[in-house]
């Protein structure tokens, strides 16, 4: 199910058009912020979207074995990826090109994008 684009989240969901994973960063304190917000939750500073490396590790995961959606045949690999730039910078996502048995916490991964019209959905594969 694709997200609804808003001024706040647009950079994150469309940055893949230029091959970039865009994450908000506080102009004042330098902290990366995700999910997108209006101001820095830490210091109230202004946020602007900046590219990250697209690298990270699997923070946690589940191998889904039940068909919840007619268009999503199991097994599908769901994970929360922690981006390399900062602890606690997490994205729920799909893992692709990975054997279910090979999925583990700490697995290094890198981003790729799947286009759905205007949205470039960021998903991850083993690095």
């Amino acid at each position: 199910m694709l997200p609804t684009l808003t001024p706040r989240n647009r950079a994150f969901w469309t940055g893949g058009a230029s091959g970039q994973l865009l994450i908000q960063r506080c102009a004042a304190c330098g902290r990366w912020i995700h999910p997108p917000d209006d101001r820095c939750p830490a210091c109230g500073g202004e946020l602007r979207a900046e590219p990250v490396s697209g690298r990270g590790t699997v923070f946690t995961f589940t191998v889904n074995a039940h068909q919840f959606h007619p268009d999503v045949p199991p097994p599908n690999l769901i994970a929360i990826v922690e981006l390399a730039e900062q602890d606690d910078l997490r994205i729920p996502t799909d893992i692709v090109d990975c054997e279910p048995a090979g999925l583990r916490c700490g697995l290094p991964v890198r981003v790729l994008f799947e286009r759905h019209g205007e949205i470039f959905y960021p998903l991850f594969e083993p690095a």
Binding site: N64, H66, V72
Partner: protein, 395 residues
Amino acid sequence: MSVSERSGTFEKRAIISGIGISRIGRRTGVPGLDLTVDSARAAIADAGLVPGDVDGIATFGETPIDEAAGALGIEPGYRGGGFDTGGLLSPVMSAFLAVAEGRARHVLVYRTVRMLGGEYIPRDGPAGGGGQGEVAAGVARAMADMQPLLAAHAYSAVNWLGMHCQRHMYLYGTTREQLGALAVNSRRNAALNPLAVYRDPINMDDYLAARMVSTPFGLLDCDVPVDGSIAIVVSPADHAADCPHRPIRVEAVGGAAGTGGWVHRPDYPKMASVDAAAEMWGRTELTAADLDIAELYDGFTFLTLAWLEALGVCGDGESGPFVEGGSRIALDGALPVNTYGGQLSAGRMHGYWVLHEACVQLRGDGGARQVRPQPEVAVVSVGGGPIAGCVLLTR
């Protein structure tokens, strides 16, 4: 503020004067209103009252207040409920507050479910209510990461909580056999509960052989959808002497609709249960060491582990070893857990059977499953992810 200064907390001015439970079954075809009337009439009579004595109703979800009120002949001056920081127990907590403030004298609280799905939100979109009742703004904030989860094809709570459990396993070495100890314990207790839907014994081999749903959760890690209704009557403490059955005292409540949602809590895999439990313990001089029984939410096995840690029964990461083998949590164990069979085996009454069972056990009315010696202090906990509520009850 010290605990003694808080001895006037609102919940201490409330009691649970009556309890009632309907038929419980799978795909019964019985209309929700009929189930509601069954549980409500039972609870009102149990409290020594007649419907005309009831001047408040609180619920959310299935069977709206107006329908129940019409069928029961109640004119509720007070209407409570919603889905606030107490999570699924919000209607109960609103009733405690209403009688404490004198806004109502006897509040009927019911929860009726009809093969309710496991999700906290409608599957077709983020927080908005639907069949789940009103969603408060705080809860909506807690659910802010729903869109990214759905985008990741994580459609169900089994996926979201499977990830919590997987992280817990990674950090602490928690095993599937430890989760299975909860499933086996629940089934053993359900065999002693005539209303439970699954009563045939299971063993660890059955647990491990059940089909996988979303790792590390197999089918027997997931609760059982049912049709049914549970009701309680909440009254002011001064009604205690008039109760035909032993009234249940409300020692403390806690609730949380946590920021950080399903993904972003800094202390993941902890959940809002940690905050709810901390609030509850801050409103009483009792401690986890005083608990005689624990009726803990088990929409998935792992949620019970999470509550054991949140409540301070175990330290972080120690809940797996605590339940391993099952003897500590059995009816004759140090801390009996989910004595009625849990949502895993008795049925998914969405947080209200734990409440009902705590009252049954504190009254000493558990029959074949009654914990001995007589429990004096029980904790009831409900919820998972960013929404949690808990209640400490005494006899």
